[in-house]
C-alpha cells in the first residue's frame, strides 16, 4: 500500500474537515461526505492509518465511519458472490 496515497487521503480528509468546520454538526457532515464520495478501498486505507496526521474533526469523522461500517464495503463491492457474474 502506497504511503503516498495514504498521505493524500489524510490531506483530503483534513481539507474536507477544514471546509465543513462551520457546519452545525461538522463531524457528521465530514463522515457523510467521505462515505458519499470515497470508495470503500480509500476509506479502508485511511482507517488503516489509525488517525495519524488527522485533524480532530477528521479523526472523529473517521471513528464514526469505522463504527458504522457493516460489513466492510471493500469486500462487499468486490465480491462476485454478492454481485453476480462478471459480464452481467
Amino acid at each position: 500500500m502506497s504511503g503516498h496515497t495514504a498521505d493524500k487521503l489524510t490531506y483530503m480528509a483534513n481539507q474536507i474537515a477544514r471546509n465543513m468546520g462551520h457546519d452545525e454538526a461538522p463531524v457528521a457532515s465530514v463522515a457523510d461526505h467521505i462515505v458519499a464520495f470515497w470508495t470503500p478501498r480509500m476509506i479502508g486505507m485511511l482507517l488503516a492509518e489509525q488517525g495519524a496526521g488527522l485533524d480532530p474533526i477528521a479523526a472523529d469523522a473517521m471513528t464514526r465511519i469505522a463504527a458504522g461500517r457493516i460489513p466492510p464495503p471493500q469486500t462487499r463491492a468486490t465480491d462476485p458472490a454478492v454481485h453476480g457474474s462478471d459480464a452481467g
Partner: protein
C-alpha cells in the same frame, strides 16, 4: 431537407403585449405592436423587395428598395422602418412602386460586375434575387463611368474573402459586426460614391484587424462580397441539415450546408434557441479537423507501449480488448477496471460508456472530464438549490440589469453568449467583473465594467463573503424572499457568520488585493441594481475551494432574491459542449443518471431491473483516485472515450506514471492524442458530423446532433462502445441512438418527457421535461427550490496550501483563448492556428523588467511539480505577481507545472493557482525534449511510414 436559404423576415421580432391588425395587399395579419410593415408582410407569406434589411439587425432604411404605399399616408414610405398601425391598408406592388424600385436597382447594378454566371454566389445572391423581383431587364447607365469594378479582393482571412468590387454598401456587414457580434471591427469609410467597407482604420486587412472571424458579416452580406472560401472551392450547397456545434457549452446550432458528402459551410441556425443565429470562429469555420490527414481510421493494438502500433481489424481489436479486460478482472478484481466518459461525445454515447463500466465491468469506477472543470458546480448547486445545473436560459440575459461575472472570460470561452451579454450591456445593464485579469469584457467597444475587482488568484471565497457581508450588514438583504423561499434558521446562522468583522471588506482587502471601497460599491450595486445575474466559469471551480465558491455564489443570489425569474440566476458557463450532459448521464462514480446516489436502493433497483445486473452500492474512483490506485498497482485497465487526460489533467508527470502503470489503456479518439502514447488499444472515433445523438448545453438544453456524412472509420462512437460491450458479454442491441435516449428517459425522471420525435419537432428541450414541466424548464426554481427550501451554506475562506515563496514568487493562472479549444486536438488541426500558433505566457511589465524579459523572449516556467518553456508576452492585463497562460498546445504542456491540489469536495484540480518562478531560457526544457522523444517513439505504426502526429 433540400437547399433553401433560411427565411428572412426583414426586421427583428418585437416583444409587445399589444396586438395590431392590418392588411397587406388585402391579407389580414395580426402582429405585436411595433412590428414593421416589412415583417408583417413577410408573415403573410409575401415578400417586399429589400437589400439593406435583414431580420437579425435593426432596421436601417438606406437602400430605398422596400418602398410601399399606405392608404391615407403620403408618399412611399420604406416598409422596413414603418411600424404597422391598427387597420392600416398596405400595398406592396403598384406600378408606381415598380418604377421606383427599378430605378433604385438600376443604380446598384450599374456599379456591379455582371458576371453572375461565373460568380460563386450565383443563385444564392440577394442582389440577383431582388433584380429579378423588381423586374430589372436592362441598365441604362454603362460601365464607362467611374466604378469600383477594379478593386482588389482581401483574401487574408483563412475562411472568407472580401471582394469590394461586388459591394453595394448596404452596411449590413458593419451592423452585424456592431449589433450581433459587438466587436465593431468594420466601418464605412468615405461618403457617397467614395464610401466603402473597411476593416478598421488601423489595419489594411481582415486578418490584421480587430476581426475575430465570427462570420456574422459574411452571413449578413447579401452579395458575394463577403463569402466563405469553401463556397468558391466546392460550389453552392445542395442540402442542409441542422445540427449542434461540438465545441463549447453555448451549444450553437448550425445548418450544415452540404454538397454531396462535403460540408460547404456551417451557417448558424436562426431558429437555434441558444445562439439565435450567431456563431463564433470555431463552430462556424473550424470543422476541417474532421477530414484531417492525421485522423486514425483503423483500430490498432500493441502489447506494451514501447512497441509500435499494429493496425488490426475491428474484430481483432475488440476481441483483444475483451480478453484483456477479462484477464485483468480475473487477476485483480473488477475494481481494477474503469472508464472515462467524454464531455465532447453525445449524451447517448456517455450513457453507454457508464453503462458498460457499471453493468459490464461491474464497478462504479467511471468518471468524466467534468471532474476537472465543473464538478464543483454539480456539488455546490445540488447542495444549495437541489439541482446540479444552472438556473436560467441564455435569453434571460435580455432582462438582466446587473451582471456579475466571476472567473469567466466569455469573450474567449463562450463567445456567442458574450455577444448577447454585450448587447445587453450596451443597452445599459451594469457590470461587475471579478477576475485577476483585465478580460475583454472589462473594457470593450461601448462597454466599461462598473467595477473590475482584480483579486489575487485563490481568494474567490473571501471576496464573495465580503460582498455578502456588505449586503447583510447594510440591510440590503431581500428578507421577504429569504423568509418565503429559504431555510430561515440556516440563513440566520449564515448571516451571523458573514456579518463578523473578519469577513468585512476592510479586513479582507489585504488578502484579496482589492480596495475595500470597490468591494462595497460592487455589493451595493448588485443588491440594489434590479435583476442581478451571476455568470461564472472555471475561474470559480478550478480551485481548492471551488465548491465553496459555487455555494457562496448561490448564497449571494439567494440573499438578494435573484432566483426564479427571468434576468437573474446562477449561470455556470460550461466549458465543453456536453459537460452538462455528461454529468446528467450518470458519469460520476457516485451517481446514476439524474444525479441519484448509487447508495439509493430504489434508484439502483430501477437500473438493476432494466439492465438485469446488480449495481454496486458504493461509489467508485474519481479520475485522480484512479491514477493514485494505478501507481499503487491496484488499478489496471481503463477505457477512455474522447478525452486526453495526459494533456488536460494536472500534474502531467503523475498522470503519465498512472497510465504507465496500467496493463490495458484503451483510447477511443479521433487522433493519436497524448494519452494514446500510453495506450495499448486505439479505437478510432467519429466526429460530430458523422453521428446522431444529442448534446446538452449550459442552459440544460438538449439539442440534436445529426449525421451529415458517413463515419470515416465506419462506425459512430456509440456503435463502437456497443461492440465492446458485446465483446465482454453484454447483450446490447441498440439500432439507433434514439433507443438509447428512450432508455435514459425511462430511467431518469428529469428526462422522462424527452424523445427524438419531440426534439425534432421542438428543435430543443430544456430539462427537466416531465409531467410537471411537459415543455421543459427554461428557468428553474420558479415557485420553490428543487430541494424544498434554499440552503445557505457557511463558506469559510480557507487559503490554498499552494503559496508563493522565495523559490516560486509568482502565481500562475490558466485559461483559454477564442480561436483554440481545450487541448487543441481539433482546433490545432484547422486554419485557426493563424491566430494562435503557440501558448504564450502573459507577464506584467514590472515582473518582466525585474527578470530582464521582453515580449517574444523564451522563458522557463517552473513550479514544484515541474517546468516547461514558452514565449512571454508583456502586458498589464495581468496584475503584478500574476502570470497567465493557456494549455492548447502539447509542446508547452502547461500542466507539467500544475500541482495535485484540488477542490476539497470534488477533487476538481486547482488549475487556477500555482506558485511559479519565471526565468529567461534558451529553449525547450529537458522534460519537453524527453517527452517529445517518448511521444515520437510511441506513435510508430508497424509497416507504415507514418510520421508522428504532432
Amino acid at each position: 431537407m433540400g437547399y433553401e436559404r433560411q427565411a428572412d423576415f426583414g426586421t427583428p421580432e418585437v416583444r409587445s403585449d399589444t396586438a395590431v391588425t392590418c392588411f397587406i395587399d388585402g391579407r389580414e395579419v395580426t402582429v405585436p405592436a411595433g412590428t414593421t410593415v416589412m415583417r408583417a408582410a413577410a408573415l403573410t407569406g409575401g415578400s417586399i423587395p429589400k437589400l439593406c434589411a435583414t431580420d437579425n439587425l435593426k432596421q436601417f432604411g438606406s437602400c430605398r428598395l422596400c418602398l410601399v404605399e399606405i392608404d391615407g399616408m403620403r408618399g412611399t414610405p420604406a416598409s422596413c422602418t414603418t411600424p404597422v398601425a391598427e387597420g392600416m391598408q398596405v400595398h406592396t406592388q403598384t406600378p408606381k412602386l415598380q418604377k421606383l424600385r427599378k430605378g433604385v436597382m438600376e443604380l446598384y447594378i450599374s456599379d456591379h460586375p455582371l458576371d453572375c454566371l461565373t460568380c460563386s454566389a450565383n443563385n444564392d445572391c440577394e442582389l440577383q434575387d431582388q433584380a429579378a423581383a423588381v423586374g430589372l431587364r436592362d441598365v441604362r447607365y454603362g460601365y464607362e463611368g467611374e466604378n469600383h469594378l477594379g478593386e482588389k479582393p482581401d483574401i487574408s482571412n483563412p475562411y472568407f474573402d472580401f471582394d469590394p468590387s461586388k459591394c453595394i454598401v448596404c452596411s449590413r456587414c458593419v451592423r452585424a459586426c456592431d449589433e450581433v457580434q459587438g466587436t465593431l471591427a468594420l466601418t464605412i469609410d468615405g461618403r457617397g460614391f467614395e464610401s466603402k467597407v473597411s476593416a478598421g482604420l488601423t489595419s489594411d486587412s481582415f486578418l490584421s484587424s480587430e476581426c475575430v472571424s465570427c462570420g456574422a458579416c459574411v452571413q449578413a452580406c447579401p452579395t458575394a462580397t463577403l463569402q466563405e472560401k469553401a463556397v468558391k472551392e466546392i460550389g453552392k450547397p445542395e442540402r442542409a441539415v441542422v445540427t449542434t456545434c461540438a465545441y463549447c457549452g453555448v451549444g450553437c446550432t448550425f445548418r450544415a450546408e452540404m454538397r454531396g458528402e462535403q460540408v460547404v459551410r456551417m451557417v448558424p441556425w436562426k431558429d437555434g434557441k441558444a445562439n439565435r443565429g450567431h456563431s463564433c470562429v470555431k463552430g462556424r469555420f473550424a470543422w476541417g479537423y474532421a477530414q484531417h490527414q492525421e485522423r486514425v481510421l483503423s483500430p490498432m493494438i500493441r502489447e506494451s507501449i514501447d512497441q509500435p502500433w499494429r493496425e488490426v481489424s475491428w474484430e481483432e481489436a475488440l476481441s483483444y480488448t475483451a480478453r484483456e479486460i477479462n484477464r485483468i478482472r480475473d487477476k485483480y478484481g473488477r475494481n481494477a477496471l474503469g472508464g472515462i466518459v467524454s464531455s465532447r461525445c453525445t449524451n447517448e454515447e456517455g450513457f453507454l460508456v457508464q453503462k458498460l463500466v457499471r453493468a459490464g465491468f461491474g464497478t462504479n469506477n467511471v468518471d468524466t472530464c467534468a471532474r476537472v472543470c465543473h464538478s464543483p458546480t454539480g456539488y455546490g448547486l445540488k447542495t444549495t438549490f437541489g439541482t446540479s445545473a444552472g438556473t436560467q436560459d441564455f435569453d434571460s440575459v435580455e432582462d438582466s440589469d446587473v451582471m456579475l461575472v466571476i472567473g469567466a472570460n466569455p469573450t474567449d470561452g463562450h463567445p456567442v453568449f458574450a455577444s448577447r451579454m454585450k448587447r445587453r450591456l450596451r443597452q445599459g445593464a451594469k457590470l461587475i467583473v471579478i477576475d485577476p485579469r483585465r478580460t475583454d469584457l472589462v473594457r470593450s467597444p461601448h462597454i466599461e465594467a462598473d467595477f473590475h475587482l482584480p483579486l489575487r488568484p485563490g481568494t474567490n471565497v473571501a471576496i464573495l463573503t465580503a460582498l455578502a457581508h456588505v449586503i447583510v450588514t447594510e440591510g440590503l438583504a431581500d428578507e421577504a424572499f429569504i423568509r418565503e423561499r429559504c431555510d430561515w434558521d440556516e440563513y440566520q446562522h449564515w448571516a451571523e457568520f458573514v456579518s463578523a468583522e473578519r469577513n468585512s471588506p476592510e479586513f479582507l482587502a489585504p488578502v484579496i488585493g482589492v480596495d475595500a471601497e470597490a468591494i462595497r460599491g460592487a455589493a451595493r450595486l448588485f443588491a440594489t441594481g434590479g435583476n442581478g445575474a451571476i455568470y461564472y466559469g472555471l475561474g470559480v471551480t478550478e480551485h481548492s475551494q471551488g465548491s465553496s465558491t459555487v455555494m457562496a455564489i448561490a448564497n449571494l443570489a439567494m440573499v438578494t432574491g435573484n432566483i426564479g425569474r427571468r434576468g437573474v440566476g446562477v449561470n455556470p458557463l460550461r466549458g465543453q459542449n456536453n459537460v452538462q450532459g455528461a454529468c446528467d448521464m450518470g458519469s460520476f462514480p457516485h451517481e446514476l443518471s439524474g444525479y441519484r446516489h448509487v447508495s439509493d436502493a430504489a434508484t439502483r433497483a430501477l437500473f438493476e431491473s432494466e439492465w438485469g445486473v446488480p449495481i454496486d452500492p458504493e461509489p467508485g474512483l474519481r479520475i485522480p483516485n484512479m491514477l493514485d490506485a494505478a501507481t499503487d498497482g491496484e488499478f489496471k485497465a481503463i477505457y477512455i472515450q474522447g478525452e486526453d487526460i495526459l494533456q488536460s489533467d494536472p500534474d502531467t508527470k503523475h498522470v503519465a506514471a498512472g497510465l504507465a502503470a496500467m496493463e490495458c489503456v484503451i483510447v477511443h479518439d479521433l487522433f493519436l492524442n497524448e494519452t494514446a502514447n500510453y495506450a495499448h488499444v486505439f479505437l478510432p472515433g467519429s466526429t460530430f458530423l458523422e453521428k446522431n445523438g444529442t448534446f446538452t448545453n449550459a442552459e440544460r438544453r438538449i439539442q440534436p446532433v445529426r449525421k451529415v456524412m458517413e463515419p470515416l472509420n465506419g462506425y459512430e462512437d456509440w456503435e463502437v462502445t456497443q461492440e465492446l460491450a458485446r465483446a465482454v458479454g453484454l447483450d446490447w442491441n441498440y439500432t439507433h441512438p434514439s433507443e438509447i435516449m428512450d432508455e435514459i428517459a425511462r430511467l431518469t425522471p428529469t428526462f422522462a418527457g424527452v424523445n427524438y420525435a419531440r426534439l425534432d419537432a421542438e428543435g430543443s428541450l430544456q430539462w427537466p421535461v416531465n409531467d410537471t414541466a411537459p415543455d421543459g424548464s427554461p428557468i428553474m426554481h420558479i415557485d420553490g427550490f428543487v430541494r424544498g427550501k434554499g440552503k445557505f451554506v457557511v463558506t469559510d475562506y480557507v487559503p490554498t496550501d499552494e503559496r508563493t515563496g522565495p523559490r516560486f514568487p509568482l502565481l500562475l493562472t490558466t485559461g483559454r483563448i477564442l480561436s483554440q479549444y481545450n487541448v487543441g486536438a481539433q482546433t490545432r488541426r484547422t486554419a485557426n492556428t493563424v491566430w494562435y500558433p503557440e501558448d504564450v505566457l502573459e507577464i506584467h511589465p514590472t515582473d518582466a523588467e525585474n527578470r530582464g524579459l521582453k515580449s517574444g523572449d523564451w522563458v522557463k516556467l517552473a513550479s514544484r511539480s515541474g517546468e516547461t518553456t514558452l514565449r512571454a508576452t508583456v502586458t498589464d492585463r495581468v496584475a503584478p505577481g500574476v502570470v497567465y497562460t493557456t494549455f492548447h498546445h502539447p509542446a508547452t504542456q502547461a500542466n507539467v507545472v500544475t500541482t495535485d491540489y484540488s477542490d476539497w469536495a470534488t477533487n476538481c484540480p486547482e488549475y487556477k493557482v500555482t506558485a511559479v518562478q519565471i526565468t529567461p531560457s534558451n529553449g525547450p526544457s529537458e522534460w519537453q525534449e524527453d517527452y517529445e522523444a517518448q511521444a515520437t517513439r510511441s506513435r510508430r505504426i508497424a509497416g507504415t511510414a507514418m510520421e508522428p502526429a504532432e
